[in-house]
Symmetry: C2
Subunit: 395 residues, 2 copies
Amino acid sequence: MPVAKKIQASIEKSSWIRKMFEEGMVRKAKYGAENVFDFSIGNPNLEPPAKFKEVLRDLAADTTAGIHGYMPNAGHLEARKAVAEYLSKHNRQAFGPDDIVMTVGAGGGLNVVLKTILNPGDEVIIPSPYFVEYNFYLDNHQGVPKLVSTRPDFSLDFDAIERAISEKTKAVLIDSPNNPTGKVYSKQDLDTLGNLLAAYSRKRGEPIYLVSDEPYRKIVYDGIAVPSVFDAYPETFVITSFSKDLSLPGERIGYAAVHPAISDKKSVMGGMILCNRVLGYVNAPSFMQRAVSKLLEESVDISLYQKKRDMLCNGLADCGYEFTKPGGAFYLFPKTPIPDDVAFVSALQEENILAVPGSGFYGPGHMRIAYCVDDRTIEKAMPGFERVIKKYKKG
Amino acid sequence: MPVAKKIQASIEKSSWIRKMFEEGMVRKAKYGAENVFDFSIGNPNLEPPAKFKEVLRDLAADTTAGIHGYMPNAGHLEARKAVAEYLSKHNRQAFGPDDIVMTVGAGGGLNVVLKTILNPGDEVIIPSPYFVEYNFYLDNHQGVPKLVSTRPDFSLDFDAIERAISEKTKAVLIDSPNNPTGKVYSKQDLDTLGNLLAAYSRKRGEPIYLVSDEPYRKIVYDGIAVPSVFDAYPETFVITSFSKDLSLPGERIGYAAVHPAISDKKSVMGGMILCNRVLGYVNAPSFMQRAVSKLLEESVDISLYQKKRDMLCNGLADCGYEFTKPGGAFYLFPKTPIPDDVAFVSALQEENILAVPGSGFYGPGHMRIAYCVDDRTIEKAMPGFERVIKKYKKG
């Protein structure tokens, strides 16, 4: 076999999101893009804020020498200072630039953190349903995912987490607001998780880390604020990107931050900076580091996503779909009216509606609807959603 | 231990280039930056070409919807088309956009290719001295470096390569113009290498790949042109970046291209696109993809580097240093007058001259001088170079 065995197997499996994407291509070619209602991918449909475009123009006109050259692998000091100041304002801790590594998006940041902490065979506990790309990220560094279920409303199940802790547990990986459920974990739940991990860390004399993937932190509704993970537990890494809140997923810019009081910080930060380099990222793209450091308090107009969520939730509730109304992100994760989510999603396809089976996120009996789309798409898809549920409810 | 054992070990070892960088910081603080002659790092001192700055301004003013969003993981079709057209012009093969993956620099491209092809324990033959960062890139994917020496003029030693081929050999990894030696491999040598690999590939019924890292291809002197690696062998990957020829190392933009006739192209390309995604790069930075696709025939003024090379070579030759005059890149790899290159480089440090011991590149008894620096730095360092060699030659 010419390519690595594992890679060949992964190509053959492909991902559900990918399959839907390809199905969508075929259907768009056949029926016209405007007649296919594509809820399959989390590609924000809102344009970056006006201020981003201003900053871009200013930076493009900047002729300072060396600004496209190498910098410390952790990133521009100015960018890290800006992030540290932002985090100090929004958490109880005082962050410095040396607590931050600028990264190639959250995908880059997660790989940097996981490579830093994982020995081969180390386990990472992940509440499911979850973003299955994490499986690849763990496998890149020979880590092992240990899935634990969440409660019916997708909140954390502490008994399940406690049962999953073993000698090999290196970290718990959470994502709030969650992809695919939109769940935002409460402050109380984060505190409980922090206390649980602190107790086990003390017992073993070595930290179990909390790794928090937070690209949707700013995308929350109904006045909800995502509680600080740093405030809940000191042995914490937060990874985020500007992909969703500034609508820049193609630009690959984000950062990883550590709690200022994390144990053995020198090794941890030294490891992260080394891993950022040796994984081939070297550093986060310079131009975008400079851009986002001027935009830390900015975001797209979140009320527009809230409007989409409400249109979708109201429409689907009227048709008889059941779901937990999400507090954040731009995903809805309704129950499929039949247990076979793959069959149900196929039936939606016949109406040119593209969703992703919940099984693709280890959440069978559900489907993910990414509603970061035109309002019109939500509106026009509704009759199809209704016809399909009626077909199954009748039976 | 909080961080992974391997990472802890790597932090403690650090790299020679890094050590020199840190020594440089200390000396610059103590003696003033203008009195420290830093030849330790390949950070191009020339600014990007004027046309790059024009293109950047145009792109920053572009308000097309979705241009900062996700695209296929392989990169923008327009960027891949432009690269394919460029490669078709400069090689004998006809490339298409599906032969190209846009990458996060050459570091990203190399990791994508290596993850695509390497099973754990697979060996990669590397002629030394070489860019030791390759060790990390191989280790990321559980590959094993098999070093082979080059001839005294740093050209390929085919007997050594042939002796190194085993059942586990998956690829030969070359870099021409070479870092750290500046060597450009001849067309005849590439043809010989291609024939050798073709013979072994036929024998085993499976290709041994040629992986060619070419970030310095455009940085060549005295009318030398770097021969096409694609023309020499079909089972070939070429990885490059715009870091050196457009002076954009901080922007992390490059590409990986496969020979249009590579075996099992569907698996190979599918694997590369998957690996670009799952390694957390996702895609190369969108903005820079669009920039470089308009700048494929551009480069900084190479004659300025040639002038630096000549100043350095003439100066060092006059002092009595011995070296092979490099045909490309911006590195000189002279012999150290004593076998202990670390001791010699330390003596240069006492003159505030920072070079990197050849041992750091598996080329002991040499040192690397990165001359992508101000002309003034070369000029002012020369008396120090002379004093140090005199001290040792006298002895």
